[in-house]
Amino acid sequence: MKWFRFVWRNATRSRRRSILMILSLATTFFLFCTLQTMLTALDSVTSFNTAQHRVVVTSRLSQIGTLPQAYEEQIRSLAGVAEVCGMTNFSGLYKDDHPDNFFAQYAVNARTVFDVFPELDVDETQRGAFLANPQSCLVHESLIERFSGDGWKLGSTVPLIGARYPVDPKLSIAGVFTAPAYEDVLIFHWESLDASLTAFSEYELFFAKAQDSAAMPRIIDEIDSRYLNSEYPTASMTEDIFQESTNESLATQRTVLQRLSMVLLVVMVLAGANAIALATRERVREISVLRTLGFTPGRVRVLVIAEACLLSLLGGALGCGGAWLLWEQAGPPSFLFLNFHVTAGTLLTGLALSVLVGVASGSVPAHRVATLPIVSGLRKVT
């Protein structure tokens, strides 16, 4: 502790330079935290529950192709299939096409959805209310929060505007679920959608819950071979593979984000090293004086590195804190990612990295000044 004041005084000796260094580090750490937050947001999209051993059946013809409703019953009758739930992405709008108002709307087979997706945690009475009213919907609590300004609550009505389908359903909120994987999701009755469209009777995909995971490869085979030569051939896969394939573009984004984060780290180390090198070069004589007083090379090294760490920790705290304030307090850009949250993990990583950046950027100048012959250091005029 007796050294802290010494390090602090040295670190802040040139106020302008310290502030500049802290601010530039803060900026990069802000960007770093933001990128990391995007990454966690991506991860939360892709981290679906894979313990449920579900098979996803999609159209082989096109990614958004459809399958006849009749398949549902046929797949259910296969050995090893516990239950099947058809699902269609309604892709409608709420209010307008402003990104802030975007969320996912799935029309599902309400009779089986809770069997196939047991992780949907809706309490008994709300579930009953939902099943009883075909014009009702269930929403994730994140939507209730987001649209509390519009008066969203149990019993209120959500008017959707059809984009892909020419219907504008008015759905009353029958219940709320909180399962983290389904943030920003609304589900409603496929039957009511079907009823308001002529000659519809189709689903975009089916989720078939297998009795156990060992049966899944066989089920996939059976489904696909059964419909291979039909008008609507299927492409089936396990849920994780389905997630991966639909998230292939997310994976690329993730790689880009990760690379950007790495580049940022390198930039931080270089900028920090430069600032610290400048600061120590000016002090070569002074540090040589300290060494005549009995400061060992090791002590000098630790002090210079501590100084670098102090500055970069301040920068890191400012940058990470700024990211947290902006994205958590001032409101996340919900249009970018469904689950944009600055996690404690991200903040801790940022802070830990700021210490590492300090060590990395302080090491070289510290080593140089600690091993310079004292006599030459004393000759330096500053």
């Binding site: 007796k2 300290l290 005549t292 007083l293 400061f295 090379p297 012959p373 006599v375 004393l378």
Partner: protein, 250 residues
Amino acid sequence: MTEPLVQFQDVWRTYTRDKNEVPVLQGLSVEIGKGEFHAFMGPSGSGKSTLLNLVAGLDQPTKGAVLVDGVQLTGFNEAELANWRGKHVGFIFQLFNLIAVLTAFENVELPLLLTSMKRKERRERVKRALSIVGLEDRVEHYPRQLSGGQEQRVAIARALVADPSLLLADEPTGDLDSDSAKEVLELLQELQREQGKTILMVTHDLRAAAAASRVHYLEKGTLQPQVPASYAAILAEARGEKAHAQGAGR
């Protein structure tokens, strides 16, 4: 002569500059007894600073041995040298070399931070050192708020706070006006007289040299048996004044 504290035994120091060997010290031998105050004079570039640096272990001889209190410094590594310096040597520079961002108090405290001393004891030691140099009322001042003479006195307090037996001063009055120089020299004499410090001082100023109990003259890398005749007269005169004023010197 008293027991020697510093011994130079046929010391050579050669620098290599642009592949040429430049001999600076050439077979220098000298002994400085415990509690003595020696001054070293000589033309610029004659190797005076080199000599002090060797005593402090800031530099190593090319040949020969430098012993301080019977210990030869050649075998020490950098960290051991640093620890040894912190305990045994106080350095005083021409340009004071105080740390600009620290107060007088904090500057003086620096050598004590290297010890396991408790905060309270450090405080007392620093205060005592500052009162020895007559600056107990300048504790919270920064170097830029002090005069040159005061800065040098803070530097002296810093040099003696860890209670080393040996004080090395490289032109301590070189940057001071004559009044401040006089104060600093009287302080050094007092430290020798009252605290038994052994002092090696390099100087260009004959009046400063007169404060020492012995004056050496360095030229062409060796100690001359005598100071130049022109110096001797001035030295004697300066000593006479001093002897008259304080009854010190010889």
